[in-house]
C-alpha cells in the first residue's frame, strides 16, 4: 500500500518535471548553441560533446549597434514605465477610493485600451510622427508605449489600493494630513510591493514589444527586439548570434520577475483575481 502511494507520488512528480522540461527545451538548445563554435553550431546531426566558448558573447558585447539597441530599450522602457507609474498610482487611488461622474465610462475606456490591438495605433502614429517631425526620436517611442503600459498599471494599482484598509487613511487625516500627504506618506510606502510588481510587468511588456517598435523606430531609436529581428534577417542563418542575443534579451526579464514573485498573480490578471 505504501509502495503504491510512493509510486503515485513519483509518477506525478515525473510528469511535472517532464512538462517543465518541454517548456525549457528551446532555452536549453539556445544556451548550448550560444556556447558552441560557429563551425559546429550548424552541424546536423548535432555535436553533443564540444569545448564551450565565450567567443559569441564577446563578439556581441563589442558590437556597438547591439549595445546601442540595449541602451535604447532600457531608456525607452524605463522612462515610459516611470511616467505611467506616476500617473497610474494617482489614478489608481482616485478610481478605487472615490465615486465621481464618468467613472464607469473611464474604467471601461482603460480596459478597452488594454485590449485594443496595437496595430490600430501603428498607422496613425506612423503618419503623426512624420507630420510633426518626431519620427525616430526617443520621445515618440516613450509616448507611444504609454498606450501599452498605462492601462496595465492603472488597473493593477486600482486593485492594490482597494486592499489597503480605509482606517489607515482616516487615521492619517484625523492627524491633519491632506489627501495628497496621505497618498504620499501613507499609501505609497504601504503599496510598495504592489508598485514594484506593476512596474515590473509593465517594463517587461515594453522590453518585449516588437510590433510598435518595428514600424516606428529608425536608425537612432532601434530597440533590442527590432535589432535582433533586422540583424538576423540580413545574415540569414547566424545561429550563434541568434542564441547569444536571445540569452541576453531574456536576462532582465528573469531578474525582474524573480524579484517580485508574490504580487505577480494579482498583476497578471490586473487585479481581477486575488492570488
Amino acid at each position: 500500500m505504501k509502495l503504491v502511494k510512493w509510486m503515485r507520488k513519483c509518477s506525478k512528480m515525473f510528469v511535472l518535471g517532464l512538462i517543465a522540461f518541454v517548456s525549457l527545451i528551446p532555452f536549453i538548445l539556445v544556451f548550448f548553441t550560444s556556447i558552441k563554435e560557429r563551425v559546429i553550431a550548424l552541424s546536423m546531426p548535432p555535436v553533443w560533446f564540444f569545448v564551450p566558448t565565450l567567443r559569441n558573447y564577446t563578439d556581441l558585447l563589442t558590437n556597438t549597434a547591439f549595445l546601442r539597441s540595449v541602451l535604447n530599450s532600457l531608456l525607452i522602457a524605463s522612462a515610459s514605465t516611470f511616467i505611467a507609474m506616476i500617473i497610474g498610482i494617482l489614478a489608481g487611488y482616485g478610481f478605487s477610493r472615490f465615486r465621481f461622474k464618468g467613472k464607469g465610462f473611464f474604467t471601461y475606456m482603460i480596459l478597452a485600451l488594454r485590449m485594443t490591438p496595437s496595430i490600430v495605433f501603428i498607422i496613425p502614429y506612423f503618419i503623426i510622427w512624420r507630420t510633426i517631425r518626431l519620427n525616430d526620436t526617443h520621445l515618440s517611442m516613450i509616448l507611444m508605449y504609454l498606450t501599452l503600459c498605462l492601462p496595465l498599471i492603472i488597473l493593477m494599482m486600482r486593485s492594490f489600493v482597494v486592499d489597503v484598509p480605509l482606517e489607515l487613511e482616516e487615521a492619517a487625516m484625523v492627524d491633519g494630513c491632506s489627501r495628497w500627504q496621505t497618498l504620499r506618506l501613507i499609501l505609497v510606502p504601504v503599496l510598495r510591493p504592489g508598485i514594484l510588481a506593476a512596474a515590473t510587468l509593465a517594463f517587461i511588456a515594453l522590453w518585449n514589444d516588437f510590433i510598435l517598435a518595428m514600424f516606428n523606430t529608425g536608425r537612432n531609436t532601434r530597440t533590442l527586439t527590432v535589432e535582433i529581428y533586422t540583424s538576423l534577417s540580413f545574415y540569414q542563418i547566424d545561429w550563434n548570434k541568434l542564441s547569444t542575443s536571445a540569452i541576453i534579451a531574456v536576462i532582465p526579464a528573469i531578474i525582474f520577475i524573480s524579484l517580485t514573485q508574490k504580487y505577480i498573480v494579482r498583476g497578471l490578471t490586473m487585479g481581477a483575481i486575488k492570488g
Binding site: 517543465a20 485594443t116 503618419i127 542564441s243 531574456v250 505577480i264
Partner: protein, 294 residues
C-alpha cells in the same frame, strides 16, 4: 465600493488625481484612433504625396476582399482554438501542481521554471523555434523525428503544417500564464471541502467538475478573456515564423493590415481594415466584460 467622507478642501481631489490619466489616455489612445478613422476615408498611398477624400470606398473594397475575411476568420478561429487548448492543458498542469502529494517546494520550483517562457520576448522565441526547432534541414525536431524514423516535418508543406506548428509553439509559450493564475485559485480552495466530499464518497472526476472548476470559475473566465483577446491580436509569432505563409493561410488580421500598409503602402486601405478590426474587438470586449468583474 467604499468611499470616504470628503472634506471641503479635498473635494476636488478625485478630479485632480484622475485627470492626468484621463488626459493621457485621451491623447495617446483616442486621438490616434480618430485620426486613423480620418485616414481610412482617404485614398492615402505612402509613395505618392496626393491624398484624396474617397468617403467609404476603402470600406466597400474591404467587403469584397476575401483575403481580409480570411484574415479575420483565421484570427478568430486560431485564437479560440489556441485559448481552449491552453485552458485545458493549463488546468491539468495547475491541478497536478496543487496536488497534496506533490511536495510544495518541488511545485514551487516547477512554477518558477514555467515562468521563464512568458517573460521572454515572443519575437526572439519565435526565431528560436523557426531556426533551432522547425528548420527543415538544421532543426532539432526533424533530427529527432529522423532518429525515430517518423518522416520529416516541413512547416511550409501543405495547408495544415504551418497552423499546427504555430499552435504548438503558442501553446508551449502561453500556457504557463494560465497555469500560474489557475494554480493560485486551486491552491486557495479550502481543504475542508475536499475532506467533506471524500466522506461522501466522491470520485476524482466529480471532484474536478463539482468542486474545483466551480470554485475557480472566475479565474477561468478572466484567463479566457485575456488570452483570447491577446491571441486575436497576435503578431510577432506569425510574422517571424511564417510571415502569413504558405500563400496566406496563416495570415491573421494584424499581419494582413501590416502587409497592406507597409508592403503595398496602401495606408488608407490598411487604416480602414484596422478600424473594422477595432470595431470587432470592441464588440467582443463588451460581450466579455459583462461576464467578468474587473
Amino acid at each position: 465600493m467604499r468611499s470616504v467622507r470628503i472634506s471641503k478642501s479635498d473635494r476636488a481631489f478625485p478630479y485632480y488625481s484622475t485627470l492626468p490619466a484621463i488626459i493621457v489616455v485621451f491623447l495617446v489612445g483616442v486621438v490616434p484612433t480618430l485620426y486613423s478613422f480620418i485616414i481610412s476615408l482617404q485614398s492615402y498611398e505612402l509613395v505618392s504625396p496626393v491624398r484624396a477624400w474617397v468617403g467609404l470606398a476603402n470600406y466597400l473594397k474591404l467587403f469584397h476582399d476575401t483575403r481580409f475575411f480570411h484574415a479575420i476568420g483565421f484570427a478568430l478561429i486560431f485564437g479560440f482554438a489556441a485559448t481552449c487548448c491552453e485552458l485545458v492543458i493549463g488546468f491539468l498542469i495547475a491541478y497536478l501542481l496543487a496536488d497534496k502529494e506533490v511536495p510544495s517546494r518541488y511545485s514551487s520550483m516547477i512554477r518558477t521554471v514555467l515562468m521563464i517562457p512568458f517573460v521572454c520576448a515572443p519575437v526572439v522565441m519565435s526565431y528560436t523555434y523557426k531556426t533551432l526547432i522547425y528548420d527543415r534541414t538544421f532543426g532539432y525536431l526533424n533530427y529527432f523525428l529522423g532518429l525515430l524514423h517518423l518522416g520529416s516535418f516541413d512547416l511550409f508543406k501543405g495547408s495544415i503544417n504551418a497552423p499546427l506548428g504555430l499552435l504548438v509553439m503558442e501553446i508551449i509559450l502561453r500556457t504557463p500564464f494560465l497555469v500560474i493564475i489557475m494554480y493560485a485559485g486551486i491552491s486557495s480552495i479550502d481543504l475542508a471541502i475536499y475532506d467533506a466530499a471524500e466522506i461522501d464518497g466522491i470520485t476524482w472526476l466529480q471532484k474536478i467538475t463539482k468542486i474545483v472548476i466551480p470554485s475557480i470559475r472566475a479565474i477561468i473566465l478572466v484567463g479566457f478573456a485575456l488570452r483570447f483577446m491577446d491571441s486575436l491580436k497576435m503578431f510577432d509569432e506569425i510574422f517571424v515564423l511564417t510571415a502569413g505563409g504558405p500563400g496566406y493561410i496563416t495570415e491573421n488580421a494584424t499581419v494582413f493590415i501590416v502587409e497592406q500598409g507597409f508592403t503595398f503602402f496602401h495606408m488608407g486601405y490598411a487604416a480602414a481594415a484596422a478600424f473594422l478590426f477595432l470595431v470587432l474587438v470592441i464588440i467582443l470586449i463588451s460581450l466579455l466584460i459583462r461576464r467578468i468583474e474587473f
